[in-house]
Structures are given as structure tokens and as C-alpha cells.
Amino acid sequence: MSTLTATPGTPETTPAAPPRPAYRVTGRRVLSSEWAKLWSLRSTWITLGLGLLFLVAFGVIAASHYKSNLDSGRHMDRDFATASAVSLSLFGTNFAQLALGVLGVLVTAGEYSTGMIRSTLAAVPRRLPVLWSKAAVYGLVALVIATVGAFVAFLVGSRIVSGTPAAMGLGHAGVVRSLLGAGLYLGLVGVIGAALGALLRSVAGGISVLVAALMLVPGLISLLPSSWQDNINPYLPSNAGESVFALTHDSTTLSPGAGLLVFLGWTALALAGAAYRLLRSDV
């Protein structure tokens, strides 16, 4: 510092610039950026909270409903009569998948609707790391939330139905596998949501396609001749996904492993479409 005053004849050039810091975009840094982005929005907390609430509350409600019907001796429809503690506790999966899938769509399509994507892709112009990071970060978060939710729902639900034909404990064969499967399924639904959001670049479009794929397509398939149905049904995203967490399997459903493979295939397909659009289209 003191040398500055000792050189009065210094020409009017810019002083030797300090060495520029060596910034660099890396995969891990993009991941941490996406992590920070996810948690810095209020919608994340609200929607994840809703997903967890749906999963636990509907499981508990279903278990209570079963118990009260059984106690009052009222007639139960077939699905309910053959219910287990697992199927009752996981009753909320259908609702939770909506919340978690919608948040997945928001994670990607929300950037397009707000314009944030321009900042994001200016920082990471290679683009693909953004998609992989979003899918990984959000998929993992959805997986953890859903797994916690599934276990909580089961622990509460199984207490409610203890002493009934549906009673089951964690030690029961296949129970832990079912609960983990439910978490995995919902995590992948989140990834599919994110992929659809990136593919369609529209929140409304992404949600519509997600709901259609998971909830409407099975209904439409039932209009087909039954021989076709038997061939197609098990491979639909919703049915393949369901066999990942269902406790019992029959000839019309896939095994948990096969179901997981098929559902992973659907996820990969959605991600591939998203990656293609991300690389090919202007933003």
C-alpha cells in the first residue's frame, strides 16, 4: 500500500488488476443452485406440505372408515372388504401424486412462465445440466417426503385397523417394500412432472398432460376391446406405478420389479423429450 505514494510518476494506466477469480460452472454447482432455487419459493413449502398432508390424512381417513364400517357391520364393497393395512394407508397416494406432480411441473414450467429461464440458461448455457439437476433435486425431495409420508400413514393406519382382518405390522412380508415403493413411485411422478413442464414450457399444459397420463388414460383404455386392455393395461404409467407399491399382485398386474422398470421407462421417455426440446428450442 505504502508504495503507491512512493511512485509519483505512475502513468495514468489502470493499476494492475487483481487476478480474476476462477469461477467455473460445474455439475455440482448447478445442483446446489437448483437446490437453493427450490427452497427459496413459498410454493415449494406449501405444495410439499399438501402432498404430505394428503398422503397421511387420506390414509388415516381410509383406515378409520374401514374400521368404523367393520364395527358397525355395514356392507363393504369388494375393494374395501379385501383391504389391508397397506392398501388403506396408501389410499392417499392418488392425491399426493397430484400435489407432487404439479410441483414438479412448476419447478420447470414455472421458469418459462415467469421468464426466470432466461437468467437460468444465461448462467448455464449448456442447458442440459439444468434439466438433470432440477429432475434430481426435485425427484429426491419428492422421494423423501413421500417415503416419510407413506411410513407415517402406515404407522398410524395400522394402529387404527389393528385387531381387524386388515391388521398388519411393519414386519409383515412385503410391507416395507410396499411403503418404499410408494415413496419411489411418488418421487418418479415428481420427475415426470418436471420433465413434462420442461417439455411443454407451460404450467397448464404440463399439469393437464400429467393428470391425463396418470388418471384419465386408464379410463379411456377401458373403452377398448378387453383383449387389448389386458395387453396394454399393465404397462400404463399409472398401473405400472401402482404395481411398484401394491402389496399383492395377480396375473393382470406386473411384478414390483417389472412395474418399476416400466415406470422408469416412462420417466426416461419424458426426460428425453424434455432434453430434446431444451436443446433445440429458443427461449
Partner: protein, 312 residues
């Protein structure tokens, strides 16, 4: 340093940018001028890789933007359209961008301070005024301490204090040896800060020049002269390189290509009395309008006085 070679962008039938060649050099402020719809924003989006050129190329510091290891350190860009999530706070927005490059928290605090956002940094960016949004965009552009700073219509929505702030910022960035590229559709705004001008219209390069050259090329100065015999004065002044215009029934003529002094001497030589002899300097604004007249996409209809001559 930004180098564009035959840069072209088509959207279906419409050509937004048409074979642009230009170089933006470090150490000066380069103004990027053109009427609305001239292709300025599209060009800027192509520079940072948001839009892919249909043909041609544009490089930043010798490489395509996307090939740099730390893009935000090469180019800091403020784009015209909002590029934030309204639900995220200004601080978290900048922090998320900084994380992709490993830019430390300290630098985020610095740019927040620099952009005058300290008091609102924790507020949701969606609640920001237009001016605050611009400041946040500029903070983001400066985050990586970039070699090249590129701002699309930066003074939009800023109050006078903000406009002054931008001017000083641009000048000081250029003085630090950075490349500064700033677009505007207002000549008057750019003329205050820019040394070099790149002027486009309908996607084509109209001029790659300096402020001084632009004025000279626009035909220099006009002399207004009034006399009781304009027809005779016309004949007297006529000659190669001299252009005279005037309306029938009016005593005033506009003369270009001759100085007021020459006109006065000529008139006196022929005994023509003059009532007025005024030199009118061409303003930058007029030079710019002249240059882009044919390239303006959307003409207003308030200048239709020529057709209403019958009423006069």
C-alpha cells in the same frame, strides 16, 4: 469483445436479423441503436445463446458464449424482458445464479449494494417497481464481474436518478477496460454515453460509426434563408452539391451544401435582399431518424400534414 459474422435469425417468413456484421470493442461504450422491431433484442439474445442463429455466428471474447467455462464472467447481460421469478427475493435470485459459478456470497452482497438494492434485497422481486427490477437485472449482469457488459434498454422505467446512475456506471465500466454494449431506441440517451454506434433497422446494419461521423454523414448543416424573391435566389444559388428546398408561396428556403456566408455573399452580389439567414445544426436525433426512416416498422400517422395542403 463481441464479434458478429453474417448473423441471421429468421422466424418463419420474417427475418428479424439479416446478415449482421459488427465488432464491439473493449474500453468504450458502444451504442446499439434502432427503431422498435429492428432486431436489437434478438441479436442480444443470440449473443448469450438464448436464441440460436439461423445462420452466421457471434462470438464473445473469441468463443461462442456457451463454450466458456464461466459464462457469467465473460458476459453480464440485462435482457429487455423480465428474467426473474416474482416469488423469489432479490437476494435469493442473485444467490441462485452465483451458486452455478461458485461466486462467493460476498460478491452477491457487493452487487446488491452497488445496485442500491440493500433495503429491498429480502423482498419478493415480484413486488418490485419497474426501476427496481432494472436495478436487480443490472446487479445480476454484474454478478460475475464480467469482461463484457451488455444491457438491453437499461434506462427503461428508471427515474432521473437511476438514469444518471446507469450513465455513470456504463462510463466507469468502459474506463476499466471492459466492453460495454448498450441498446436503445433513443438516440439522445445513447449519445450521452456512447463513443461508438451500431445502428440497425429491419435487422440490417445501417451504420457502424462514431457519433461525430454520423452527424457529418447525415449531410451536415442546413441554412435557412428568407427573401422576397425565392425563385431568383434559387437560380442564383443552384450548383453542383447544393440542394435547395422550399414551399411554393413561402419566402423561406432550406439550403444544404453551402455555408451561410457563401449564401449571403452570393445574394448581395445579385442584389437580392435577405430577411433571414440562419444555420441549423443537424441534431443527432435527426441524423438517426434520417438513417432509419425507411427501416421504421410502425409509422405513426400524425405526420400526414403534406396531404392536407388543400386546406391551407
Amino acid at each position: 469483445m463481441i464479434e458478429s459474422q453474417q448473423l441471421t435469425k429468421r422466424y418463419g417468413e420474417k427475418t428479424a436479423v439479416d446478415g449482421l456484421d459488427f465488432t464491439v470493442k473493449p474500453g468504450t461504450v458502444t451504442g446499439f441503436l434502432g427503431p422498435n422491431g429492428a432486431g436489437k433484442s434478438t441479436t442480444m439474445r443470440m449473443i448469450v445463446g438464448l436464441d440460436a442463429p439461423t445462420s452466421g455466428s457471434v462470438t464473445v471474447n473469441g468463443q461462442r458464449y456457451a463454450r466458456h467455462q464461466a459464462p457469467l464472467q465473460e458476459v453480464g447481460a440485462l435482457l429487455e424482458a423480465k428474467s426473474i421469478h416474482p416469488g423469489r427475493s432479490a437476494y435469493n435470485h442473485l444467490r441462485a445464479l452465483a451458486l452455478t459459478h461458485g461466486i462467493p456470497r460476498r460478491r452477491v452482497d457487493e452487487v446488491v449494494e452497488l445496485a442500491g438494492l440493500s433495503s429491498v434485497a429480502k423482498k419478493r422481486a415480484g413486488a418490485f417497481s419497474l426501476g427496481m427490477g432494472q436495478r436487480l437485472g443490472i446487479a445480476a449482469a454484474l454478478l460475475g464481474d464480467p469482461q463484457t457488459v451488455m444491457l438491453d434498454e437499461p434506462v427503461n422505467g428508471l427515474d432521473p436518478e437511476g438514469v444518471l446512475w446507469i450513465r455513470n456506471l456504463l462510463t466507469s465500466l468502459a474506463a476499466e477496460g471492459r466492453t460495454v454494449f448498450v441498446s436503445s431506441h433513443l438516440m439522445s440517451e445513447v449519445a450521452l454515453v456512447a463513443d461508438h454506434l451500431i445502428i440497425v433497422g429491419r435487422g440490417r446494419l445501417l451504420a457502424d460509426t462514431t457519433v461525430q461521423d454520423l452527424v457529418r454523414e447525415a449531410g451536415g448543416d442546413t441554412v435557412k434563408v428568407a427573401t422576397d424573391d425565392p425563385a431568383r435566389l434559387r437560380d442564383v444559388l443552384a450548383g453542383p452539391g447544393v440542394e435547395i428546398t422550399g414551399r411554393i408561396g413561402s419566402e423561406a428556403l432550406q439550403v444544404t451544401g453551402m455555408s451561410a456566408r457563401e449564401i449571403g455573399l452570393k445574394a448581395s452580389e445579385h442584389g437580392i435582399p435577405l430577411f433571414e439567414l440562419t444555420t441549423k445544426a443537424v441534431s443527432l436525433e435527426e441524423a438517426f431518424m434520417e438513417l432509419t426512416r425507411d427501416a421504421v416498422e410502425y409509422h405513426g400517422s400524425t405526420t400526414g400534414t403534406e396531404t392536407s395542403g388543400s386546406a391551407a
